[in-house]
Structures are given as C-alpha cells and as structure tokens.
C-alpha cells in the first residue's frame, strides 16, 4: 500500500470516526410540552417522592439557602465546576416543559430536552439502571413540585471540557444503558437492592474510584473514593469496619443516620441518610441486604473489635489524654451518659480504621449536627478550640487508643489539608 493510500485511508477513517461521533453526539431536541399541567395519580407522586429521597435529588439540585430542586449548587470536578440545574416544574428555567420521553432520555442517556449532552456530574450512568415505573414516579413527583424561577450559573469548565459533544465519546466508553439483569441466584430483595444501589441511589458515585476521564472504574467497584473532602470507605470485602455490617446494622445506619455498632453518619452521608429516612422502608432494607452481602466476608470485621487501650495510651500520650479527658470524655468515655444510651464506642467506628485520618479530622473539626430543630447525633465543632498541633495530637491519640492499626503517617499534613479544604 502506498503512503498516499494510507493517508487517504486514514483521512477517510478519521472522517468516518468523526462522522460517527458527530452522529452519536448530535441528539435531537424533543418538543416542549405545549400545556405543561398534566395531572398525576397522587399515589404515584407519593412513590416518586420517596424515590427522590432515595436518590437524594434535592441534595445536589438545591443550592445552599436556595429553594428545593431549583438547582444552582456548584459541583467541583477535576474538570471544573458544574452547576446543578433547576428541576422544578418551572416552564422557562426548570423542566416544566419536558415530556416524559425527554425525562426518560435524560436519566437513561444523559441528554437534555434540547438535545444537549449532560455532564456525568449528573450521574445518569447510574440512573440509566432505574426501572421504568421508578422513572415514571420520579417524573410525576418532579412535575408536581412548585415552579421556581431560577437559572443556574454558567458552568466553569477547563478547556476543552466545555465542549459538550465530547461527552459522546465518554458515553460510548462508559455508559451502559438500561436496567440491570437480575441475578437469578439471588433473592428478589437483593436484586432490588442492587438495582437501587447501582441505579437511583448511585452509591458508586462516591464509593467507587474514578479514572482520569472521571468515569468510575468498574474493576474497582466500591473500593472507596474521595468526594468533597471526605473519604467514602470501601463497601466490599475491603471494608475497614471492625464490626460486621449486617443487614440490620446497615439498615439502622441508613435509615436513622446512626448505627449502634458502628458510628453516626458524617459528612455527605448525613445528607444521604436524611434522605433515606424518608424513602420507602423496603427499598432501604433492600439496599442494606445488597451491601451486607458485598461486605459479608470482609476480613477486617471477622475478629473481635479492638479494646479501648485507655490507660496505656494515656501514659504514652499525656497531653492528648488531657485534651481528650476535658473535651471528649464527657460524651465518649465509657461511663458517659451518651455512652449509656447505647452509642457505639469510638473503637467501632470506621473513620479511625481507614487508611487516612482525614474523616476523623473532619468530624473533630466540624462536628455533627442534625438539621435545625430535629433530634439526632450531635457533636460540637472543635476546629476553633484546638490548634492544628492539638488536633493532630488528638487524632493520633485516638488511632492509638481505639485501634490496633499502625499510626497514620503525616497527621499534621492531613490536618492542614482539612483546614484548607473547608467543610462538608
């Protein structure tokens, strides 16, 4: 073959690929609904509300201090900042004119009504697995939310990621459309749990590490990943939890934000569990069944949990011990009233057993608070009480006292990192 032929062939090949990519990336606009005020069966709307809580739509689609579902919240990605959109029923700035078909396409294929490809910061690569009835119910729910006029700020993406048609390539590589096929060897509940976890609940969105193109690495499903300054631990056999995540333990945690055998939900899991508290109880249990099965043989949970080595650690770390005794023991010491309420020992919580001190530091620095006026696990913020050095000392002390693991390397560095990064 001559060089000329090669060149021509390559050019034609490239053109063909580009044409194919263009063909794939170009999506038609679905027509706007002329009369966007359909009525929906209240039972379906109610179902949709529960699913919206399960998927925590409001968590992303609500700005701080903004109206629910009206969008405008910035999502930081390695490619820049994406702002969530308004998914209220507003005809101009929300999805009020979206037909059911357009909505389904958005969830299943990541395409907006007007044909724009959506950034996978909107996890349509998960939502694509949602069932038809679930998507219908979600549609009914969102279309009956009060309309809010609000336009999201323009995305601030690094070049060339602002060019949406590139996403077609991403979809080709990473989007596996449609509901999952049930595993016949598993119960109906397990299959429902998996469908939800992989689908609307999009757990892998935080708990699965991503590649350089920002896509989840399916060969490392649920191996743990970083999000918004928190480490979301593994949800498989690599789980560092020292007490077994049984279905019941997981259900209690997901449903109430507190597990008596592990810890309270912190960081982004606070928002997730508050949503799950209002989702369908059966759905939450199904998710618990699924992940309990993935973590069933995690080695870390096989032995007995570590003992509280208080006396030994105190002798070795007298300064940190004094800080703990004055600042933490009132709630966390064995004889503290909070502990008499059946709250878990610090030795049982996952944060101290992770390979990173980051989550421990986050919790100490920022505390825990339920939403205003609600009851729930509460911890004051110590970020202003302690210097960086004191925070590092306490963090190292906790690791030594409540785990049998080696000390974390560079705890001061981790403290500085959390200080810089801001809160949940």
């Amino acid at each position: 073959m001559t060089k000329r032929t090669l060149l021509l062939g390559s050019a034609i090949g490239l053109a063909a690929v580009l044409l194919a990519a263009f063909a794939v990336s170009w999506q038609p606009a679905w027509p706007a609904l002329a009369n966007p005020s359909a009525t929906f069966d209240p039972a379906i709307v109610a179902q949709g509300e529960k699913l919206a809580h399960l998927g925590n739509c409001a968590g992303c689609h609500t700005a701080q201090g903004g109206r629910p579902f009206a969008g405008g919240r910035p999502l930081e990605t390695p490619f820049g900042t994406v702002f969530t959109t308004n998914i209220t029923s507003d005809p101009e700035t929300g999805i009020g004119r979206w037909s059911r078909k357009a909505f389904v396409r958005a969830l299943r294929e990541g395409v907006a009504r007007n044909g724009d490809l959506l950034y996978p910061a909107f996890p349509y690569d998960h939502f694509t697995h949602a069932s038809d009835p679930d998507i219908d119910a979600l549609y009914a729910f969102l279309m009956t939310r009060p309309a809010v006029q609000a336009r999201a700020p323009v995305n601030r993406l690094k070049e060339p990621f602002g060019f949406r048609p590139l996403l077609a390539g991403w979809n080709l590589l990473f989007l596996h459309k449609g509901p999952l096929v049930d595993d016949p060897g598993q119960s109906a509940e397990w299959n429902r749990g998996r469908a939800l976890a992989e689908g609307l609940a999009h757990c892998g969105g935080c708990h699965t590490p991503r590649n350089e193109l920002g896509a989840e690495r399916s060969d490392h499903a649920y191996d743990g990943a970083w999000t918004e300054g928190w480490y979301a631990p593994p949800l498989n056999t690599s789980s560092p939890a020292v007490r077994p995540w049984t279905t019941d333990a997981l259900f209690a945690y997901l449903r109430t934000g507190l597990s008596a055998t592990h810890a309270a939900a912190a960081g982004p899991m606070g928002s997730v569990t508050r949503g799950l508290a209002q989702a369908s109880e059966d759905d939450v249990r199904a998710i618990a069944v699924y992940f309990a099965s993935l973590m069933a043989h995690a080695p870390a949970a096989q032995g007995s949990p570590p003992a509280d080595k208080g006396n030994v650690t105190d002798a070795a770390h007298p300064e940190a011990a004094a800080l703990f005794a004055g600042a933490c023991a009132t709630c966390h010491a064995a004889g503290a009233p909070m502990m008499q309420e059946g709250r878990p020992s610090l030795a049982w919580g996952t944060p101290l057993h992770e390979d990173t001190p980051n989550d421990t530091i986050q919790i100490i620095m920022h505390g825990l608070a339920p939403p205003a006026g609600r009851s729930g696990p509460t911890m004051p913020a110590y970020g202003d009480s302690f210097s960086d050095r004191q925070l590092a000392d306490i963090t190292a002390y906790l690791r030594a006292r409540y785990t049998d693991k080696p000390p974390w390397p560079d705890v001061p560095g981790a403290v500085a990192q959390v200080r810089k990064g801001g809160s949940e």
Partner: protein
C-alpha cells in the same frame, strides 16, 4: 397583750380600751376577725411582712420566691409605693423557713394575688401606723401628716424619719382590713421599674445558687442511672474513693453521692461510677405512645363543671374532635443545684425549690430531724417552670453533706440527670363534643384524661432520695387538685357562656412515668383543645373565629382583651388564608380566675417540608392592676415563645427501659432560627383592680393560636401536639 399606749387610745378609741381591759370577755368577738386580703389572712401580724429598725431600714418579707419572673422587683415596687419610699430603701427577704411567712409554693401564678396583695395591705397598715405615730408626736390631725421620701412631714416643716417613728410603735399587731391605699404622691406601681436582679446577671455578679461559694465548700455529684426507674450497677466504690480529690463516696441504701474538693474531680468520679452500666429493675415502660398508654389505666371521674341549660335540639349539628399532647419536659437551662451545711445537729439548705416550707417538712422526715432543725433558704436558680429537680437535689445535697458536718456541700445535677429524672408534664387527651343549633353552641361536653399535675414533695416519699435510702419512704400518692384551680382539669371549664355544658376529668392516678406540675398544668392542653374546637365550630357555623367567640362571651374584660388583640393584629383586614399562609386566634382567662390573655398569630407553612414559620404574634393581656407592665409583657412574651416550642417541637421520647430524651440533641427546643419574626404584647392596665396572676396565662392561647393559624394556612388540622414538620407533612398528604 401589748402595752396600752397613747397611740392606741388616740387611734382606736374605746373599743380598744375595752379589748385591753377584758380580752377574755371579748373573746368570742375577737375570734371572728374579718377576712384580710391575700395571705395577710393567714399571717395577720404586720411584722410578719414588714419591719423597720431604728435606723429606718425597711425589711419586707415574702414567702414567695424570685423565679426569674420579676417577682422580687414587683413586690419591692408594691411595698415602696405604699410606704412612700425609694425602691432602694427596701430590703426584700424571700422564702426562708427561718424568717418568712409560709405562703406555700410559688406556683399557680399566685404570687401577686396572694403575696403582693398581702404586702400591699400590710404596707398600707404600716403607713397608717406611721402616720398616726407622727400625728400623735406632733399633736396634729392624721390628715395633716404627709409621708414621702422615707419620713413623715408636719405642716410646719418638721419631719421624722421612719426609724424614729418605728421606735414609737409596734408592728407586732394584726393588720386591719380596708385600710386605704396611699392616694397622693409619686406612684411606683404601674411603672416599668427596672428589674433589681438584672444588673448583676449581665455583669457577672453572684446571682444564683449555682454561684454560691462558702468557705471550705466541697463539690458533690449524685450517682443514679440515666433516668427514672433505672439503677446503676454497683462498681468498685473503693477505687473511686481513692481518685484524686475525692473526699468520700456517700452511700445510704441505694443513694450514692461522691464528694470532692474540686468540681471537675467530682465529675470524673461520677463518670467512673457510671461506667458499670445500668438496669431497669421494675416494670417496663409502655410500648405505645404515653397518651394512649395512660388511657388504658384505671381512672377516677372528677367533675369539672356543669353549666345548666335546655338539652340541645336533636336536629342540631354535632361536632366532635380529639386533641392530645405528649409528655413535656421542664428543661431548665441550668441543671438543679443546692448547697447544704450541717451544723449544730441541724441542716441549712440553700435551694431554688418553689416551696421551701413543704421541702423543709419533707427533708425533716427524710433526715429524721425535727422541722425546727431544718432551714431552707430560697436562692435563685435558673427558670424552673414548675416542679423540676430542685427539691430532689436539695435532698441529695443534704444527704451528701450529712457525711461531712461543718463543711458546706454544693451538689449540682448533670444535664442528663435533669433530663432523665425531672418530673414531666403529663401526656393528656381531650375529647370534645358540641352541638350547634342556629349557628350557636347549644350543648358542650369536655372529657380530659391525664396523670397528676402535682407531685411536689409533701413527704420524704416525694423526693427521689426518699425511695433510695434504706428503709425507703412510701411513695406519695397524687390526688387531683380541686377546682377552681384544678390540675389536669385546669381551664377545662370554658369562660364562654355555654348552655348545657359539662366537663369530666378522668384522673389517672397510676403513672408509668414521673409527672408533676409544669407551667399551666392542664391549661396548656385544655385551652389548646377548647380554642381549636371553637375554631372548628366557627367553621362549621360559617362564622369568623373572633365573631363566634364574642357571640358566646359575656365577660366584659374577656371581650375587651379579645377585641384588643384582634384590633392590634389587624384581624379584620387579614387575608383569607391558604396556600401556606394563615392567621389564627385564641383566648383564655388563666384558671378563669387570673389574667386574661388573647393571642393572634400569622404563620407560613412550607408544604414540602412541613416547617412552620411564625411571622407575627400579637397578644393582649389584662392582669388587673399592673404593678410592672414591662414585667407582665416579659412573662407573656416568654410564655408565648416557650409554648410555641412545646407545641411545635417537643415530645419526651421513651423506650421500654428509660427516657431516651437524654440531652438537648435528643430533645430539641426552639432556637433563634425558629422563633417568630415579631412578638408584640399589649397590657391593659386596670388600676385599683386586684392583681391577677400572669406567669402562666400565655401557654394555652399561644398553642391554640398556632394550630388555628396552621389550619388556616393549609386547610387541614393537626390535633395532636407537637406539630412537627413530619406530622404536618403527614396530615397534608392524607
């Protein structure tokens, strides 16, 4: 019999002479003394209330206590006003078993009515005596003597200080009824005299029993399980006794306390003692909501009221509704505290108990001492809102201090102990049924179910320690508080003129949880029910809620209060409500005996979250003669905000073994981000009218106005308190 003095001859004439000559002959006449106003009747001697020494220093005594309601200031105003002196001239001694009259408990909004009235009249008597003494001294007519600025003034310019005058007379005489009040001169009553206790509170002064520091004082903590009914497992007491700073671990039967030289050391010792875990030895708590559980227990029917009238027409429209509330916590912001000191075979206890006399009696029994060997001195604590842990901690401190005679012991409860052991406000259910005929109420039936609203210690068995020592004292059996005051049935009798109306209190003696008086007692629930029901009836009759109430109210002061609140609110021009915004109205006269209070409120309900935001509250109150109008406004504002917290947010939670509302995280109360945007209180002053108790008047009306406003906003009614976002959402969805 006191010496015959010239004052007596001049002042009181022949009858007195006759008395002094033959007391026995006049015995039968003397027995039938006319009734004196307020608690003066129980303690008719003037020097029980007022003493003046030779230097002119005036001491006023009251058996009531400052709870943060401004009583100290109000009583000083009353005395100073009547005695024509500056308030700074008055030293007020409050509830102290060694010095003050036994006026029972500072509760039920009785202080101004009983003590204020007594002091007012005693002071008037004293002023009359001072005037007479000066007149006698100068040989002028009584009318020519003027009293002001702490002295009597003669027409010719001479003056005599009260100190000198006091040496000429005795205040150890009985008060006379119908002594005229001072007419001329600058008034203090009716002014907003600044609270005398606030300056210390805003500049770090000593102000509370928690601030007491006595020489050699030890710090103590009592050791109990997490909440009533639980018991800590025994542990290595000797190891704790050896902890740094620990002086002693006091154990008497099941009562345990730890004493240490430093407070933090006592706390650490407590932590160590608590690490053994706890059990619930007795019966488990009911599985269902407390308000349902108590209805399964035997009850005793107590009549509340029975208004006559013809039976309702059979074609009348019958309306029924059921309302309820859960157990509520006092939740005093400062956990209860007491200081006790044993000396000379007796004990002195500094306590914020609302009733130092009944406490003394109970302590005497507990400690096996004669009552004269126990002294209880009221010293301010944080707001108690009824029977909280104050009495129990007094007993705890006394028992702990008995182990170290001669050393004062300060014992303070921990937050979780106050949450876990304080007596609660009972869960309650009210069922109302009424018949409307021609859009007017033609028949009315009120049934209320509740546990007792009074468990205040009258015996050692009413104290927690009483059940722990060996042998334990028998438990106090609660009894219903009789009407017209009432307990669970307080304010069950509507002030409206209703024909053919009857009310029954189903008093449930057996209580699964510890219950006692919480601000308002049954009034919070009964007024909530009645005032919500009036709205439901008004709606059924197609009437405006205010007009409907006025159509059934003949009490003129009630009508005026309702109209005032409505006018100040702009009730007539309010929107019709709906789409999440609404207005509500409610009224009650506390106990039908005390202050009148009407509340109007505007709210916005977020239909998605169920959150209620209160944009405007306007209240009007009639407390009779207003001694300190700003003090009245303060109490009503506070009562409104507190009642809104109860009604929207609060419910004590239990599991089978204990109270799970163990701290503020588990029992959230209203915070700054949820209080109303504005609260206005208008006081109608009625000079010359009797003082009317005010401290509890807002609890019921605020609660009902809130529920009525929410109903106006979303067209659906929540009848079971608290109106949490979850409950509002659930009702909206149904």
């Amino acid at each position: 019999m006191s010496a015959l003095t010239r004052r007596r001859l001049l002042g009181q004439g022949a009858l007195v002479v006759a008395f002094s000559l033959s007391r026995r002959a006049m015995g039968q006449v003397m027995e039938k003394r006319p009734t004196l106003p307020g608690d003066l009747d129980k303690f008719p001697l003037l020097d029980s209330w007022i003493r003046i020494d030779a230097e002119g220093h005036i001491t006023v005594f009251t058996g009531k206590a400052e709870l943060g309601q401004g009583l100290r200031t109000a009583l000083i105003q009353v005395a100073a006003d009547e005695l024509a002196v500056l308030p700074t001239s008055i030293e007020l001694v409050t509830a102290d078993t060694a010095h003050t009259p036994d006026e029972g408990v500072t509760a039920g909004s009785h202080s101004m009515q009983d003590s204020g009235t007594a002091i007012l009249n005693a002071a008037a008597n004293v002023r009359a005596l001072l005037t007479e003494a000066a007149a006698w001294r100068w040989l002028v007519a009584v009318e020519e003597v003027e009293l002001h600025d702490g002295a009597a003034h003669a027409p010719n310019g001479d003056s005599l200080g009260y100190g000198e005058l006091a040496t000429l007379l005795s205040l150890h005489v009985e008060a006379k009824p119908d002594v005229a009040r001072r007419e001329k001169g600058v008034r203090l009553i009716g002014t907003n005299l600044p609270r005398v206790d606030i300056p210390a509170k805003v500049t770090g002064g000593v102000a509370y029993v928690q601030d007491m520091r006595l020489p050699g004082m030890l710090h103590a903590r009592v050791v109990r399980g997490p909440s009533e009914g639980t018991r800590l497992r025994p542990t290595d007491f000797d190891a704790v006794a050896r902890m740094p700073g620990v002086v002693q671990v006091v154990r008497e039967g099941g009562f345990t306390a730890v004493l240490a030289t430093q407070e933090w050391q006592a706390i650490k010792a407590l932590q160590r003692l608590q690490s053994a875990g706890w059990d619930r030895p007795g019966t488990k708590l009911p599985a269902e909501d407390m308000r349902e559980a108590i209805r399964r227990l035997p009850s005793q029917e107590v009549p509340i009221f029975d208004y006559p009238g013809p039976p309702a027409p059979t074609d009348g429209k019958v309306v029924k509704a059921r309302y309820s509330r859960p157990c509520l916590m006092h939740g005093s912001i400062g956990p209860s505290c007491a200081v006790a000191l044993w000396e000379n075979d007796g004990v002195t206890v500094w306590t914020h108990s609302q009733g130092v006399y009944p406490l003394r009696k109970s302590l005497a029994e507990l400690l096996r001492l004669p009552a004269g060997k126990v002294r209880c001195i009221h010293t301010e604590g944080s707001g108690c809102y009824g029977h909280n842990g104050a009495d129990d901690v007094a007993a705890d401190a006394a028992l702990a201090a008995r182990a170290v005679p001669g050393r004062p012991v300060r014992l303070q409860w921990m937050r979780e102990q106050e949450h876990g052991w304080e007596p609660l406000g009972s869960a309650m259910v009210v069922e109302l049924e009424a018949t409307l005929a021609d859009d007017r109420i033609a028949g009315w039936r009120h049934d209320v179910w509740s546990n007792a609203h009074n468990g205040r210690p009258a015996t050692a068995g009413g104290l927690l320690a009483g059940a722990e020592v060996d042998p334990p004292f028998p438990r106090q059996i609660p009894k219903p508080i009789p009407m017209p005051e009432g307990g669970g049935h307080r304010n069950g009798n509507p002030l409206y003129a209703l024909p053919n109306a009857k009310g029954i209190y189903h008093f449930i003696e057996q209580a699964p949880v510890r219950v006692s008086a919480l601000r308002g007692l049954g009034a919070h629930m009964n007024v909530f029910a009645i005032e919500c029901f009036m709205d439901e009836l008004a709606k059924s009759a197609g009437a405006d809620p205010l007009a409907f109430r006025l159509a059934h109210m003949t009490d003129a002061r009630a009508r005026e209060i309702m109209q005032t609140a409505a006018d100040r609110f702009g009730w007539a021009s309010r929107g019709k409500g709906g789409d999440g915004r609404g207005c509500g109205f409610a009224f009650a006269r506390y106990k039908n005996l005390a202050a009148y209070c009407a509340v109007a409120m505007e709210v916005a309900v977020d239909r998605a979250s169920g959150d209620i935001k209160i944009s405007r509250v306007v209240a009007a109150v009639d407390s009779g003669e207003a001694v300190n109008p700003d003090g009245i406004r303060n109490q009503i504002e506070g009562g409104i905000v507190q009642s809104l917290s109860w009604t929207i947010h609060e419910a004590v939670a239990f599991d089978a073994t204990h109270r799970s509302s163990f701290d503020w995280s588990a029992y959230p109360i209203v915070r700054f981000d949820a209080v109303p945007a504005t609260v206005e209180v208008h006081v109608i002053d009625r000079p010359g009218q009797p003082f009317l108790g005010t401290g509890e008047a807002a609890q019921g009306p605020a609660a009902a106005a809130l529920a009525n406003a929410v109903t106006n906003a979303v067209a659906l009614r929540v009848r079971d308190m608290p109106l949490t976002p979850e409950k509002v959402k659930a009702v909206l969805r149904s």
